[in-house]
Assembly symmetry: C2
């Protein structure tokens, strides 16, 4: 079986430093293709190109809106060491940079060293006991990306009831709708996969300027738990902070984006 995420992030090698991909409409938000989806195409090209498998740290700047259609991904290796391999990538459409990213890859399964956790995963009910936060929303108002994931929260979020809470934060379970299991590559997509925090302050669209993702462990199969929050909205900009745990409760990724309210 081929899963949607793997189909839609597939990259074809064109030459030593170039890959081709097809941006699909399936991950569209209200404002076009989701930024995390575009990042995961670039991250996949780096995973193929580099001698290390996992996106330990990926930092992307979003320069232009992506559109469904063909894309070209340029990759340039910067350094390859015993533990880390780094590269630059540019995802272009119609000859223009859509996303430019730096990636430092590693074999995350081999990370060994000190462990000290001072943060707990969200205290959510088991996903089977949760609610679908989109259950009350007319499917005609749901963007395609909402069909790619299954979400569970303890209670419907304010925006889904037509009453934004004023508190731009959520805890939720998430998985791919078609049963694809999470892996380090998919952890570059998940940080941007939950409904935006700004829905809770009555905003509908924001434009990502920069997003950095740190993958800290290989996720176990099953659901992921996400904690998402925005705490500083200043001059129209806001951060969105994301922490992700796997179903065993292992901390697997952390991400932050800076975004500008509006399209």
């Amino acid at each position: 079986m081929t899963f949607e995420f793997d189909e839609d992030t597939a990259v074809t090698r064109v030459d030593d430093a170039t890959f081709a991909a097809q941006v699909t409409e399936r991950w569209n938000t209200f404002a076009g293709p989701n930024g995390g989806y575009i990042l995961s195409i670039a991250a996949r090209a780096l995973a193929v190109h580099l001698p290390m498998p996992d996106p330990l740290a990926v930092s992307a700047h979003f320069l232009r809106p992506a559109t469904p259609g063909p894309a070209t991904i340029h990759v340039e290796s910067l350094k390859s060491g015993r533990r880390h391999a780094s590269a630059l990538t540019r995802l272009q459409q119609n000859g223009k940079d859509v996303l430019v990213a730096l990636g430092t890859y590693a074999d995350v399964s081999k990370a060994s060293g000190r462990e000290l956790l001072l943060n707990e995963p969200p205290a959510l009910r088991d996903p089977d006991g949760g609610v679908d936060p989109g259950a009350g929303i007319d499917p005609a108002f749901m963007p395609p990306i909402a069909q790619r994931f299954v979400y569970r929260t303890d209670a419907p979020p304010g925006f889904a009831l037509g009453k934004p809470s004023g508190r731009p934060a959520y805890d939720a379970w998430i998985r791919f709708a078609d049963g694809r299991e999470p892996d380090p590559l998919a952890l570059t997509m998940f940080p941007d996969a939950l409904f935006p925090t700004i829905f809770e302050i009555g905003e509908l669209i924001s434009t990502t300027v920069e997003m950095s993702v740190h993958v800290r462990a290989v996720p176990a199969p099953g659901w992921l738990t996400m904690r998402v929050s925005s705490r500083h909205i200043t001059g129209g900009y806001h951060e969105e902070d994301v922490e992700i745990w796997d179903q065993r409760g292992t901390f697997v990724a952390q991400a932050r984006q800076l975004a500008l309210l509006g399209g």
Copy 2:
């Protein structure tokens, strides 16, 4: 008067896409030149090169240790728009990449739009009533960078008393020792300028893999307040999260680095 930070981050244009700089020993930690210092040299080259003055979002990957001595900074503009201008920069020593960074610059003083703050600056005593956290440490054991800043905390941190607290977090006041006032460029240095959180868990050295800085406002003259914490130490990696406010209490910057324990 010329201030240390301005002297030591000075860049000289070599050609349209190249600057020269001199990495000094004055910002050395126990492991050589401080990462935030190296980043601020690259950020300064971008500020000169781009039509926008302030590092709204800078994402750096640290590929090799810097050493005191000459450095070459290559810059490549990626996009220049009405609100943002983005570029790639590579800081090289001896022909090899030390740091590669993406920068999206803006005129932060002109950011206008929604404001909503859900986070407070640290509740610290006035800096005049605080203590110098390094007061009890033999100056012979202090790296040069400690002389570049003045720090104030409410009480001496555990490591300074020889008793790391086990809690890798600090709140502190900070300013340049020579009186240079903070500005958006210096906010690329400050996130890495406080004593590392890992001192509180008995570690002395960590190596930055990636650091992203978001500058959210132009700081007022005077002290800055910083809140620094590490909450996830896994497989030998840890994040260091930084929030910075100016003396008026305005939120001015946010940063995160991923680092690996050890040299």
